[in-house]
Amino acid sequence: MSVLTLLVFLPIALLPVYIWLPRVGWLRALTGLTALAQLGVLAALAPTFWAGGGLVTLHPWIDLHLGDALLKIRYELVMDGISYTLSLLSAGIMLIAVLASDHITHRPRLYWILLQLLNTSLIGCFLAQDMVLFYIFFEVMLLPMFFLIGIWGGARREYAAVKFFLYTLLGSLLLLLVIAGLVFSYPVMQGGVRTLQFSFSTFSNPGYLEAGSFFADGTVRTLAFWAMFLAFAIKLPAIPLHTWLPDAHVEASTPISVILAGVLLKVGGYGLLRFAIGIFPDVYLEQRHWIALLGGLSIVYGGLVALGQTHFKRQIAYSSVAHMGFVLLGLAAGNAVGAHGAVLQLFTHGLIAGMLFLVAGALYHRTGDLAIASYSGLWHQMPRFTLLAAVAMFAGMGLPGLAAFIPELLVLNGAFQAASTGVFAWVYPVLGIGGILLSAAYLLWTFRRMFMGEYRTAGGQAWALPDLNRTEWLTLSLPGIAIVLLGIWPGLILDLSGPAVEAFFRQVHAHAATYLSFSQP
């Protein structure tokens, strides 16, 4: 059995234990151990990826005869530097979420089962190369999340869960429509048989595009690119498709918010990069300015709305929207620098947003109140908590020395390069800089309001606000240490994902040139 299959299916393989183990308390340890095991496997694989290599697992799965053609859905898992990085993030965030789940007393068995299902589907999304397999993992992600938000969430959890499910399903169905159509335009001749494969390597290869087929037409390609873009932009989320995010984040419980912000959003970014850009590089290169527009809008709009928030978690949610705007901007740049920044931003934002939600969670578990105005001068009462909250918030602003600075720098570098060659207007990178300023504004303001000044809370004497206990210390320091480490040594991740990003963009440019040569007489 291949190591990739082990990585993806280890959580599900343990499900029978989850159903029958009488001691429910052990399930939390088991879930944590699964995540730790996945991290271990990934650590063991690190040398392969530092050297710029990759891993492939390929098995035949479903072979359908359609007339004289053979339609193949294959079990195809591919790990390159980009998927390695994101799998690392997924396993790490899962571990942190397990650590943060010490308040689960309501229906714990179901909770842990759903988390394991989520674990499998998340890593599966990053590794699947066959698009139907990817789609299956993409969808399987939704149902556990729906139940996790809806059962263990806050007051409006049902509304948030249904909105989340329907909104992201809309994107998924668009993706399905495009996938089902693409397969007919990229036939491969294998042994004299016209084979139709759903593999990304087939769809991304212009050599397989059948002249005169449906998806050879420029208009169709443009529409299909934007349909795919829409599907992943809903998940990212990009303005104006972001409205599910604040509700989902606010209503979900702390560990679920961590997973949602930490990993689920990254699936959107990954899908955009790998599939939307990878399959339609010609449309992408031609229409990058729209992506830059959406990125710039997300950065500024997210920042402005976050500035006006009075609910702490909602502010973090909108700041996530703004940070994901940087991903869009970096991808829109179309050069390797911007893409490096985008991928690194995906990784670091997962850590930072996760840590910020843990900060919110620590307060929520003590008082149940997340209004920013309810707290003041927490520094005096909870100094150790303030230290870690400060790390998270300053990282969120992109302070040099902490994780988010380098990716934002790289993104802006790439964006300015692109703007100087006329790909898109100067205003977008300038908006990016404005976005950093905005993030400093609202995060510093919130920090000042909640942590500085004299100690005064809305609950007064009734609220006991002890400092962090041991579990919380551990839970918060893990991302904190990673954030500081990546701030000083971003090469840790850049060296892992770098070669893959470079190779990917070389391929994008080469294939785009090939597609353009098709349409030239």
Binding site: D63, Y135, L143, I151, E158, L170, L173
Partner: protein, 492 residues
Amino acid sequence: MSVPLASLWRFALEQSLAAIAPELFLTVLLLAVLVIDLFRPQSTRLVAGFVSLGGLLALLIALLIQGPPARSLLAFDGMLQIDKLGWYFRLLLAGGHVLVLLQSFSFLREGRYRAGEFFVLLLGMHTGLSLMAQANHFLLAFLAMEMASVCGYVLTAWVRDDRTAADAGLKYMLYGVFSSGVMLFGLSLVYGLGGTLRFDELTGVLHAVPAEAGLVALSLVFAGFAYKAGLVPFHFWVPDVYQAAPYPVAALLSGMGKVGAFALLLRWFLAAPPAALWDGLWLQVLVILAIVSMLWGNLAAWGQTHYRRLLAYSSIGHSGLMLLAVAVGGTALQAGLGYYLLVYLILTYGVFMAGQLLLPWGESMPHWSKAGTAAQAPVLLLAVLLPALAGLPPTAGFTAKLGLFIPLWEAYTQQQNPWILAGLGMGVLTTLLGLYYYLRPLIYLIFRREAADTSLQPQFPGSLLLAGILLAIAVLYLGLFHYDRLLNWLGA
């Protein structure tokens, strides 16, 4: 040496009779059960059921042993077509009937009515549906449809002192009679225009007929079949009948009824493809009807709080998608439809069974939030089956939809007919719309679960639970493995 005509005729007759041996067996079984019911006293009323079950299992085993026919054969001078597809539908119907019997034992045990008649009517309906699935001639289709329908009318109103059931039965019958009348009128027009009522000769004779006349005739004929399939605008009986009929009957109508109706439509459109008539105008009409059914069914289900009405409207939505598949046609869609019908049969039985298990808490979904932990078994069942009906991976519902969407795309890229794309797009959109109401029972049962009311700890019948578990496993298995073997076999 010339062979005497009489012996040739007798040979053809013998061959035809041998070809419909399963249906003949069902008729004999029906008569046997009827006789048993007449002569056995009330206390052994379920004997008839066991005889029926035994006969059906024997039929299933015989069908499986005999295997599909090697070549297709026209029986009774073109009335019936006996082929691999027919064998498959016979299997589906027999399997479905066995499931209904398992479901009805627990239902009948509590009742006070002569159970023997129930089994007789079930067998009658099965025979009718079985003949429908192999029809090649409109008159036979009409006869078979009426046989199935009449049994259905009586089965709906089975519980004699339930006014809503009697209401529903009457509505079903009135709609049915009216549609049959319309269909007969259409058939007379078709015969007048073309001179034949055989499916396989239809395209040939209607080709030359002007589009207006032909469309009217075919639409009138289609009305009768659409009524049985539950398509808009002949669907008005569906919500009331599904709501008020006894549980096994509702499951029967939803599952086997649809198998029979769509098998019949498949036969008709395979032999006389809509795309071949009048530049695709007939196809256009059918696709529009399919789109309307999909939209209507899925949108109307949004507001439902009664579980079975929700299932009724959702079945209208599914019918719309199946009509799209059967109208566009082609071997790939034929295979996809056969698979979709299998999956739909499993799923619809499962959800009705789950509903029957949840009966102690009523059928109004808001009340289900009081079910608590006592309802764990049906809740788990629904947690697998409802996402499957919605078409979510990794269940068979997803592969069934994929099995239709992919061939529909292929048909569009080959024929460039914008209506096919419109239908496909609508199928995808209604999948999204459908998710909302498929989640509603889960929301009431899981999200809004109140503290368990320990006074109500019903005993779930073992047969239903076992059947439910098997169905759930089948749904998950078919969603991931080996569905391609079935699809390839159906399409060959």
